[in-house]
Amino acid sequence: MPFILRAMRYLDYAATTPVLPEVTDAMVGVLRGDFGNPSSVHAYGRAAREIVEDARDRVASAIGASPAEIVFTGGGTEADNLALKGATRKLRGNGNHVITTAFEHHAVLDTVEWLGHNEFETTVLPVGPDGLVDPAAVAAAVRPSTILVSIMAVNNEIGTAQPLARIVRAVKEANPSTLVHSDAVQMLGNLAVNVHELGLDFAAFSAHKFGGPKGVGFLFARSHTPLEALLHGGGHEGGLRSGTLNVPGLAGQGVAAEIAAKEVDDKIERVGAMRTRLWQGIEDSIERVRLNGHPTERVPGTLNVSFEGADGETLLLLFDAAGIACSAGSACQSGAIDPSHVLLAIGVPREIAKGSVRFSLGRDSTDEDVDTVLEVLPGIVERARKVG
């Protein structure tokens, strides 16, 4: 194992989060003890099934849903795919129009694009310069043939939180039979979640964004919503997602979800304060910077900043060399960074979008993390501006 992680400062919680110790304990316990297949009839199966159902209860509780409305998946991307493809296939008889927005995560955007190539009509709505979706604009796009609208709860790159309740209301007023899905992957753990209060029909979640393990997630699917499976096989998860369940992973996810929901208020306050200090410090020490996205309608930890005239790749590499983990844009298949489609969607000029960095703080972030960033930032920006 060649890599030695020196004293690194982690400011990339939006990419993934450290696994909570309680989660690890729960998972190791399952790995060591309860290896049974939850579908088996015998006692080993029962023990494993109980773990799974306990996890289902915790997860449902964390988002204000009933356990019967939870479909376990292999992550957030799969949950988005299941909702978008599974619901539209089932609803094909009612219409063929799907709406989403330009700044969604690729798990939604690419899937909607795929639907567009497969006999569905799609509308990709623009987003306001403050990174907020306008409920009226969504409603205006709804037609009699619209079967599904997908709007992300929290944007992963700029951290803005959408007025979901108002959006859902506006959509249902325009067409009561249109279903609403939300990629809520960045929501749980950062904001209070109650899917029924929001009126959502589908919502996707991913464990590794809230202190759980990678490779595990779930889809909230409101009772009686039409949904078809993507994975066929043994008929698990009510026929909606075949495949033997990842028992240790789900155990971890359950514990993580419970803790995330419980700690959210404290997080909003504590992490929010650190982020505010980070932004203040950046504004005070660097010129020609801008904060991307609405200043207050956002989750506590995410801060996306454009450094005018700086080369984004150079910024990231210099941060890495300085022991600071943050991110920018989105990595494509090769690992190169492309300017963020989110920034471009909210109207940030391409040249400025290229010089943007996303810092995202989280549960274990400290004031030292913020101090370290502020200390090295001016030098890094200066060098990156020489190249850009």
Binding site: P2, L317, D320, A321, S334, G335, A336, D338, A384
Partner: protein, 365 residues
């Protein structure tokens, strides 16, 4: 002791992989960088160089060596410089050498700049060439493996750039490089060499031209040196000076492409004797040490995998040099590079330029 920082341009191929390994062995603080030169995701999945598969090969090698590795997005700059020039050259009847342009505008320019910003002292590549220093002056020599020597594509490196350039595999034969790669457990040890232009899918140049340089794709007349039409060509970009195959005409004797006139969209063909070139002028010249004096004898290489021919400098002005061959040669194409080597030390590159005009043997003094 502070380690010198090196950025290694990694392509995922065996040469740059071993170059990185050698520098790690030599105690440098190495960072591997791969350039993403293509647009989009799926583009060039089939091309020999620089694609997604190559990136994961390079990344795996970097992991094995324990060095940081990044892929930098240079697609826009590459398109605006190398690819643009490629299209413009073909459209005007020249034969471009994009690998030379990439070295000139991307690797030892944009990438060198970036490496400097990242704090690197030197930029290393997997080229087969050698840099030597003698009391503060730098020399560029051919690679030890003459079959693999790539000094020809490095003619644009001057003192300032040579001071910051390293070619770790230049002192090795290719077989040694592969052996070392295998010993190091690098998965690229047996990867075949890429001979093709990295941005031309499947190495299919005619298809590329069809798609991207339609202006050079229009059929036009093929004429003899006397001006008589002898056939039709399928678009000037499909032909290069000296080409014999694929002309689609039968005149009872071998004929070759003698010249390409983009303005009239005409190709002139001639017998072998009519191809003879007496000399050429090169522009955008760069000299390792200093511009060559008029009258100086030099060894001239005018093709990537070509021989050297003796000749001498006939004219010299800033950015330009004119040379004549001792004996006429064949198929000198505008747009290709002219590289010059020292007659007394044939390994030593003196400099070079881009061939801008040629002089037919029959009209030369």
């Amino acid at each position: 002791m502070i380690k010198r920082k090196a950025v290694v341009a990694m392509s995922g191929g065996v040469d740059s992989s071993v170059a990185a390994a050698l520098l790690v062995e030599q105690g440098y603080d190495v960072t591997g960088i791969m350039l993403k030169l293509w647009r989009g995701e799926a583009a060039n999945v089939d091309s020999g160089c620089c694609n997604v598969g190559a990136a994961s090969d390079a990344r795996r090698v970097a992991d094995t060596l324990g060095i940081p590795f990044y892929v930098l997005n240079f697609a826009e700059r590459f398109e605006q410089t190398v690819i643009d020039n490629f299209h413009a050259d073909y459209a005007s009847g020249r034969t471009p050498n994009p690998c030379v342009r990439c070295n000139q505008w991307i690797k030892f320019d944009a990438l060198l700049e970036r490496a400097t910003a990242l704090g690197a002292d030197v930029l290393a590549t997997g080229h087969y060439a050698r840099v030597r220093s003698d009391g503060g002056r730098y020399r560029l020599l051919r690679g030890v493996d003459h079959n693999k020597d790539q000094s020809y594509v490095l003619w644009m490196l001057d003192q300032a750039k040579l001071a910051r350039a390293l070619f770790p595999v230049g002192d090795m034969a290719k077989s040694e490089t592969r052996r070392m790669a295998a010993q190091l457990g690098l998965r690229t040890a047996n990867k075949p060499d890429s001979q093709e232009i990295c941005f031309v899918r499947n190495g299919d140049l005619p298809a590329y031209v069809d798609e991207h340089i339609p202006a050079s794709n229009r059929p036009g007349p093929m004429v003899s040196t006397k001006g008589e039409q002898v056939g039709e060509h399928r678009g000037i970009a499909r032909y290069t000076i000296g080409q014999r195959k694929g002309l689609g005409i039968s005149l009872g004797m071998p004929v070759f492409v003698r010249s390409i006139d983009a303005e009239t969209n005409t190709i002139v063909v001639g017998r072998r004797e009519e191809l003879a070139c007496g000399g050429f002028a090169a522009c955008e010249t760069s000299w390792v040490d200093q511009p060559l004096q008029v009258g100086r004898e030099v060894l001239i290489q005018y093709r990537s995998h070509g021989e050297v021919y003796t000749g001498r400098v006939e004219s010299s002005s800033p950015g330009r040099v004119g040379v004549v061959f001792d004996r006429p040669v064949e198929a000198v194409a505008r747009g290709q590079s002219g590289a010059f080597y020292d007659v007394n030390r044939p390994e030593q590159l003196l400099g070079g330029g881009v061939i801008s005009s040629t002089v037919a043997a029959t009209t030369c003094v």
